[in-house]
Each structure stands twice: as structure tokens, then as C-alpha cells.
């Protein structure tokens, strides 16, 4: 596949900044609405007309790669195709209501939220769900706070959260934000949880074990029942990081594996758009014993079939100022309804099939298995970051690189179910072409993208984070 990204450039820059196209400084409050000392004097911002702006943002979009541009096997991120019809639903004027509306006047919206809580509970095998956390990490934070509140409610002060070394960085950061000490659990040689290490890591200080299953190597934690027993015997809770749930839909449920708390990454598993970094949503499901601690409010059906908001009895309070990323939740509801039981199971089956098929086609070694929806290949003697840069030239987005560290020069690859055999073959060709190239070629890549290789070290050394900072030079 030949590829050449659009490149708009002018002199020593790409598309000029809005500020370079025409800033204007205007005076504020010339009519004297406020006393002078309450207002600023001027504001200086870009002053362009709509046609110029349309062209500016169109050009910027052409210098950006999305899921519809080509394969996007960014490991751990589940870059699925995002169905168009869900955007139409999010744009409905009737979806645009204010969060302070009385519940009796927003029955339709609350009904959708109730429906989504119910869908997610079924899919995760959980008893109760909150939709409030606005992202996966926010879900982790909420879940860890729930664990903390639960233990405290039982008169149990526990100070530690156990996390495998291969876990997402957010797990560690979320546990720390909630005030826990992190106990890092080294992986066993097979890339999974080491039961002996787990035995020695847990104690009466253990509030929870946070686990991703399948883990970031794509491996299912086969000993999950034993893991759950060890953690529960120590009085701890089992937390499921839902980042990899796209491997398991219809095949296994966290609730059935002994997990007490989980978050769902709806922008991964349920195909809401990633938006260049967000917004996502990170609903949290729990077993019934933990439901009284969930964030407030949740919604429930009354006997009269209306839906009401309520505050769980021992709620931790809030993790978002309102009720989360509603428009994202609405898209989630529509996606799940579109797929249904068969579609959800098929999504995971095809995601796993695609990952296995792709791994089989590439020349790089995949040291751990059997993996599920993603695999981590090793670039071996090559630098994984250089491999990624060179893959860009073949019109595909590269994998996540250099992580997890358990694999040397890791290429963490997750093609998702949306790729066809043909596009997987195209991806494999990109991998294999790069595998056969020398370091010099890799180091000088990419050349087909809008920008050439960017010196990130230099950019960090002298941070310039605004056009004002550029002007000062």
C-alpha cells in the first residue's frame, strides 16, 4: 500500500497557526457596563472569517490519521470503527438537556441511563453500575474509592493496593490518588500473575488487587479463581480493569471470575469515538455488597415505571461535577443495542481471530501466548520506536511501543474486529517490510507523513506551549 499524508506547509512551518493568519486586539467593555477596575483592557485573538476557518480545520484534519484512514492497531486502546448513526443520536436536540432539570421532566434521558446501567451490569456480570466516571482512569479512581469506603465502613483501615508490574500506569496513579500505597507484583515467567508472589504480597493491609484480564500481554489469567481466593481470603477486593474487555464479550464475565469491582472503557469496548484523546467514559460495576458505596446519584426504576435519581446509602460522593459524559454514554447505549448478544460475542471472537491471524503473518517474534485480542511482539534487535516511525510510511498506524516492558522492544498490537483479512494482510506487509529494513532506514523515517521525525527530546528541553511562547523568541 502506498501512502502519502497531506502536507500543508509554508516556509519553515506546516499549516500556519491561527494567530499567524491574523490576530486582532480589541478593546473590552467600551460601553462601560462594568467599572473599569473589574474589566481587562483588551483581548487579542485570531480574527478570521468562516471560510478561512473551514479551510484551516480541514487542512489540519488532513494532517491527522483516524480509524477510517486505515488500520489502527494501537495496543491497549481498542481503536474500533465508530458507527455513524450513534453520532446522529448524540446530536438530537432532545438529548441536550441541563443536568439540573427535575427528574420528572427528563424521564427519557434517565430511561436511557437506566437502560445502559442494566446493559453494562449484564455484560460484566455485575449487580450495580454507575455511569458517572468520565474516563477509564476516573473509573479506576471511583472504584478504588469504593473499595476504601467499603473497608472503612467495616472498621477496616487498609493501606495497600496490589498491582501487577504489567498493568496500565493509570492503575498505579489511581491507587496513589486515593491515598493507597502501591505494592507492585512481579509477573511470573509465563507473563501471568505469580501465585506465590501474590500470596506474599497480600496481607491484612491489602484493600484490593487491580487486575487486567486478559492482561496487557493478551494472556488470560488462567488461575483467576485461585487469585480471587487468595485476595478474598486476605480480606481484599478484586478490581477488574476493563481496558481489555473487548477480548471477552460473551466468553467470560468479570463477575463470574470473582471480581468485585470493574470499570468499562466504553470508548474501547463499545466503540464510542476516541476524539483525539477523549472524551470517553468509564462506568463502574460492582457486586451488590459494594453498591451502597457507589457515586451519587444513580438511577433506578420506581414501581410506577418512572425513573428516579437516588443517592446510594454510603455513597463516596462525586467523581464528576455532574453525571459524567452523557453524550458518550448515549452512543454506548446505541452501540450495545445495535450488536446485541450475538454481535457482542462476535466482536470479541473476531477481535481474537484477527489478533491471532495477524500475529501468524508477521516476522517478528511473539514471545507470550496464547493471547487473545492483542499480542505483544518483540522488535528484537531493532528499536521498537523506530519500527513504529517506519510503519507510518506504509499507511498504517503502528502498535503501542516499548510497553509492557516484560517484552524487549515491545510492539503491542491490537487490530480489533473491524479489520478485514485484506487489511490485516496489509498490516502484516508493513510489519514485515520494516522487519527487513536496516537501522538507517528506520531512523530516517517517517517520510510520508505530514511531518518528518520530530525531536521530542529537544521539544521537552525547551518547552514552548503556546503561540505566545513562540512569539517571545
Amino acid at each position: 500500500m502506498n501512502y502519502s499524508q497531506a502536507r500543508w506547509s509554508e516556509d519553515d512551518r506546516y499549516e500556519p497557526l491561527l494567530s499567524e493568519k491574523g490576530n486582532r486586539e480589541v478593546a473590552v467593555d467600551e460601553d462601560g457596563l462594568l467599572p473599569d477596575d473589574l474589566t481587562r483592557d483588551t483581548v487579542e485573538l485570531p480574527a478570521l472569517e468562516e471560510p478561512e476557518l473551514a479551510r484551516h480545520y480541514t487542512r489540519l484534519s488532513q494532517m491527522n490519521y483516524g480509524v477510517e484512514s486505515g488500520p489502527f492497531p494501537l495496543g491497549s486502546c481498542t481503536m474500533k470503527y465508530n458507527p455513524k448513526f450513534t453520532e446522529d443520536l448524540a446530536a438530537l436536540p432532545s438529548a441536550a438537556v441541563h443536568p439540573d432539570r427535575d427528574e420528572g421532566t427528563v424521564q427519557g434521558l434517565l430511561g436511557v441511563m437506566h437502560g445502559l446501567q442494566d446493559y453494562l451490569a449484564r455484560i460484566g456480570g455485575m449487580d450495580a453500575v454507575t455511569l458517572q466516571p468520565p474516563a477509564g482512569a476516573a473509573g479506576e479512581f471511583a472504584g478504588v474509592l469504593v473499595a476504601k469506603a467499603y473497608h472503612e465502613h467495616n472498621g477496616d483501615q487498609r493501606s495497600e493496593i496490589v498491582i501487577p508490574d504489567s498493568a496500565h500506569g493509570t492503575n498505579f496513579a489511581s491507587a496513589a490518588m486515593a491515598g493507597f500505597d502501591v505494592v507492585e507484583l512481579p509477573s511470573a515467567e509465563d507473563g501471568r500473575v505469580d501465585l506465590d508472589a501474590l500470596e506474599s504480597a497480600v496481607s491484612e493491609e491489602t484493600a484490593a488487587l487491580m487486575l487486567t484480564n486478559p492482561n496487557t500481554l493478551g494472556l488470560f489469567e488462567r488461575d483467576i479463581e485461585a487469585i480471587a481466593e487468595i485476595v478474598h481470603d486476605a480480606g481484599g477486593l478484586l478490581y477488574y480493569d476493563g481496558a481489555n474487555l473487548n477480548a471477552l464479550l460473551g466468553q467470560a464475565r468479570p463477575g463470574d471470575m470473582g471480581f468485585d469491582i470493574m470499570h468499562y472503557n466504553v470508548h474501547k469496548t463499545f466503540a464510542t469515538p476516541h476524539g483525539g484523546g477523549g472524551p470517553g467514559a468509564g462506568p463502574v460495576g460492582v457486586v451488590s455488597e459494594l453498591a451502597p458505596f457507589l457515586p451519587a446519584p444513580r438511577v433506578r426504576k420506581t414501581e410506577g415505571e418512572t425513573v428516579e435519581r437516588f443517592d446510594p446509602e454510603h455513597t463516596i460522593g462525586k467523581v464528576h461535577g455532574f453525571e459524567g459524559n452523557w453524550l458518550v454514554l448515549l452512543k454506548t447505549y446505541a452501540y450495545i443495542a445495535r450488536l446485541g448478544d450475538d454481535g457482542l460475542a462476535d466482536a470479541s471472537a473476531k477481535a481474537v481471530l484477527n489478533a491471532n491471524y495477524l500475529a501468524e503473518q508477521i516476522d517478528y517474534e511473539v514471545p507470550f501466548g496464547p493471547f487473545h485480542h492483542e499480542f505483544v511482539a518483540s522488535a528484537g534487535e531493532q528499536d521498537a520506536a523506530d519500527v513504529a516511525k517506519r510503519m507510518l510510511d506504509y499507511g498504517v498506524h503502528p502498535p503501542t511501543t516499548k510497553w509492557p516492558e516484560i517484552v524487549d522492544e515491545a510492539l503491542m498490537t491490537e487490530p480489533t474486529e473491524v479489520e478485514t483479512t485484506r487489511s490485516l494482510d496489509q498490516l502484516a506487509e508493513a510489519f514485515n517490510a520494516v522487519a527487513g529494513e536496516d537501522d538507517e532506514t528506520l531512523e530516517s523515517a517517517p517520510s510520508e507523513t505530514a511531518a518528518r521525525r520530530i525531536d521530542q527530546v529537544a521539544a521537552a528541553r525547551s518547552p514552548r506551549l503556546s503561540w505566545q511562547a513562540l512569539d517571545e523568541e
Partner: protein
């Protein structure tokens, strides 16, 4: 749709392709690829019926039509400004909407530049040097400001002072964010809707890490003594965090000029409109705290061709590298909303943005005057300058007034036994006559 009538419509494999792939893997079925012990395998069903697009659209539309069709005069931290059509059309381009965090900057220059422009606009509006490219919302931004204060201030103190008038929900988020560093969130009083600076002076001490104030406040009051608040904080070596939003910032005193160390708020007053509380947390701070900033930052650098290019930068602050020592746990943020905010600001331009801010004062003032003319109503309750919204006193119990107005087709806030709150922007201004008439009916 593509030859298979079961399964995911977004998994495009034909049965023949699936067979060929299974053959290539030397397995009989997809089930053989799963390494899940029988004891934990799921053999039930979710009981979720698959439906086609048309039926889901019909269902969701029908459900949402059950929302009462009220004209909302609602604000209190979530505002409805008109979003130009350009924003929807261009932000929805798949290159923006479906991409992700710019881990490969060479192929993601467009989004990076848009975020750099967003950061720059906030730098202009606040006068502070560093804006990140978003946290979730105003409440989590405030939480992040408090933990930043705990990191940069080595004072023994653990007190975070917040105003009497703020959303309880926002305060709850703040309390959760500060639980891990054992800060105590304490209230300082307000007088006639604005910060009681004398009371605040008594409350601030050497144990104080952070003083938070809003302008406009949750009641729409424009603070008149921000400089004094900033000085009080500085005198006690505490940080001053100001809550505001991009529209108000275009007109009110520059945060840098009143001694603000961090500015937080909801930037989606531009770009999103009413979205049941979904927004985007703006987070701007002084350059000296750069290495303590939470979340993603876009910086300018150079590529191999010598051209200016953009990249995520200073990532060693972040969770994927620093893990439990990261400045925050945030990963996925609200980047697409930031894009929309920047687009909306660009569509307004400086003239349009300043005009919108000025209109926000005029509309609140004029609407308050009209309600004040009604017997049984006094508005605004506070003798202050108001922005977008104001509180009114009703002789009738506010609960009854709010219910009666809802029955007449209008939504306003109830904020006290005899207090209602009304927010007016360009999206509901045409309905103000109706609201005034309805209030005349119900408030007597």
C-alpha cells in the same frame, strides 16, 4: 449487510474469510482461540436483542421525546451558548473524531496543532503561561489544582478554603481528589453573594494551601475584590485558584493581574452547549509549576526537515511513565471538546467573544430588572454585577414557583426557600417575554 446476518455489523468478515483465517491458524473455530478455564467461562446470554439502526434511532428518539419540552433558563456551572454549525461539521471529520492521543506526532499534526491553539487561547484569556489540553470538567480541574498546591507548597498546612456559594457536587469531587493527600476542605463565608474578604482574611492562615474563589460565582456574581483575595493568599504562601470560563475571561479582570496561580473552569461554555453536564475542564497555571501540571501538554518543536512541528511533551509527569508518582491519573481526557472550544472561539473572534461577554452582562441585568418589576419578586437578590444569571427572591415558596413555571413550560433553578435562579443567554433570550409573563402569573 455484508453477507452475514448474525454477529457484529462492524466485523466485516464473510464466512469464507473466517474459514480461511481459521485454516491459516490451524484451528476449527474461534472458540478454540480462547484460553479460558471452563469454570469461569460464560455460557449464558445477556438477553440483549440486536436491532437495526432505524429501530434504535426510533427508540432513542421516542425515549428522549419523553423529556418535557421546557425552555431552560438554567446555568449554575453548565451553560448553553449557541454553537456555530462549522463546529459540528468540522469537529466531526473522522480524522479528528476517531483518532486518539497523539503518541505518533508525525501522523497527528492536525490535532496537535488544534490543541496547541486551544492552549494558546487560554494563555491569552488568563495571562498565565501554561494551559494543558484538558481535564474532565470544572470540578476535577479544581481537584487537580488542590493536589498541585499540595505538591508545590511545602507548608505544613493542609487547608483548602472554598466559598460558601459553590456547587455541592463540585465540592464533593474536590474532597475525593484531596482524600489521598489528606487535605481538609473548609468553607469561608460570603457576604451579599460575593467573597467576604474580611472573613476570608480571618480564615486564611499559615496552614492554608489553597484559596479558591469563582468569578462569576455559581450565582452569576462578578467578584469585585479578586486582587485582595489573591494578595491574601500570597501573604500566607497559599495558592490562589480562580474558577471562571472562557466567555467571562474575555471581559473580566485577567487572572494573572489579580494574582491567580491556577485558573480552572468549564471551557465548554464555548463549543458544546447543553450536554447534561458534560464539559471540559480548563486548567491553566503559572509557568513555574509547569512540571507539576496534570494531563497532556502540547509543545512546539522541530522535525527533521527543520519545520516547526507539534508533539505531546513533558510526558514524564504522566501516569504511563511515572505511574504512582505521576502528577495525576488522567489518561483519556476531553481533547475533542477542546477542539470544539477552540473552533467556537475562532468563529467568534475577539470581537464576537467580547460581545458575547458583554451581552452576558446586559442580559442578566435586563432580565433581573424585568423580574424585579413583578410584584412578589425581587431581583437580583445580591447588589452586585451579574454575569449571565442572577438569583431572585420570590414571596411565594420557591418550590411552588419552580413547579408552576415548569407547568408553564419554563425551567429555572430553586436555590433557597424563597430563592430562584435564572440564566439568560442568546439561546433562550427570545423566550424571555414568555418567562416574565409566566413569573407574573405564578409569583403573585
Amino acid at each position: 449487510m455484508s453477507g452475514h446476518d448474525r454477529g457484529s455489523p462492524y466485523a466485516p468478515h464473510t464466512p469464507a474469510e473466517t474459514e480461511a483465517m481459521l485454516d491459516a491458524l490451524d484451528v476449527d473455530s474461534e472458540a478454540d482461540l480462547f484460553d479460558i478455564p471452563d469454570a469461569v467461562a460464560f455460557d449464558g446470554d445477556f438477553g440483549i436483542e440486536a436491532r437495526d439502526e432505524r429501530s434504535i434511532r426510533r427508540e432513542v428518539r421516542r425515549r428522549l421525546d419523553r423529556n418535557d419540552d421546557l425552555v431552560e433558563f438554567l446555568g449554575r456551572d453548565h451553560y448553553d451558548h449557541y454553537v456555530p454549525s462549522l463546529v459540528d461539521h468540522l469537529a466531526d471529520r473522522q480524522e479528528f473524531l476517531t483518532s486518539y492521543t497523539q503518541y505518533q506526532p508525525e501522523i497527528a499534526q492536525g490535532f496537535l496543532q488544534a490543541l496547541f491553539e486551544y492552549q494558546s487561547m487560554l494563555v491569552e484569556l488568563t495571562g498565565l503561561g501554561v494551559a494543558n489540553c484538558s481535564v474532565y470538567d470544572a470540578a476535577t480541574a479544581l481537584g487537580e489544582a488542590a493536589t498541585l498546591a499540595a505538591r508545590v507548597r511545602d507548608a505544613d498546612g493542609q487547608r483548602v478554603l472554598v466559598p460558601e456559594h459553590m456547587r455541592a457536587e463540585k465540592r464533593s469531587v474536590l474532597e475525593n481528589y484531596t482524600a489521598g493527600v489528606d487535605l481538609s476542605v473548609e468553607t469561608y463565608p460570603m457576604a451579599d453573594g460575593a467573597v467576604d474578604t474580611e472573613a476570608l482574611a480571618e480564615a486564611v492562615d499559615e496552614e492554608t494551601l489553597l484559596v479558591y474563589a469563582e468569578s462569576p460565582t455559581v450565582r452569576g456574581v462578578i467578584e469585585e475584590h479578586l486582587g485582595d483575595i489573591g494578595a491574601l493568599a500570597e501573604d500566607h504562601d497559599a495558592l490562589f485558584c480562580l474558577g471562571s470560563d472562557p466567555v467571562a475571561l474575555a471581559m473580566l479582570e485577567r487572572p494573572a493581574d489579580v494574582g491567580a496561580d491556577v485558573v480552572v473552569g468549564d471551557a465548554a461554555t464555548l463549543g458544546l452547549g447543553t450536554a447534561y453536564g458534560m464539559g471540559i475542564g480548563l486548567f491553566v497555571t503559572r509557568e513555574e509549576y509547569l512540571r507539576q501540571v496534570p494531563g497532556r501538554l502540547v509543545g512546539a518543536g522541530e522535525d527533521d526537515s527543520g519545520r516547526r512541528a507539534y508533539t505531546l511533551t513533558l510526558q514524564t509527569r504522566e501516569q504511563h511513565i511515572r505511574r504512582e508518582r505521576a502528577t495525576s491519573n488522567i489518561c483519556t481526557n476531553q481533547a475533542w471538546v477542546a477542539l470544539r472550544t477552540a473552533m467556537h472561539a475562532a468563529m467568534l473572534g475577539p470581537d464576537g467573544l467580547v460581545e458575547l461577554a458583554e451581552d452576558s452582562i446586559r442580559r442578566a441585568r435586563d432580565a433581573a430588572d424585568r423580574l424585579d418589576d413583578i410584584s412578589g419578586v425581587r431581583a437580583p437578590v445580591h447588589d452586585r454585577h451579574q454575569f449571565r444569571e442572577f438569583v431572585a427572591h420570590t414571596d411565594q415558596p420557591a418550590g411552588a414557583v419552580v413547579d408552576d413555571l415548569a407547568a408553564a413550560g419554563y425551567a429555572v433553578h430553586r436555590v433557597g426557600e424563597h430563592l430562584i435562579q435564572v440564566c439568560v443567554t442568546e439561546t433562550n433570550a427570545d423566550e424571555l417575554d414568555g418567562l416574565v409573563a409566566a413569573v407574573e402569573e405564578v409569583a403573585q
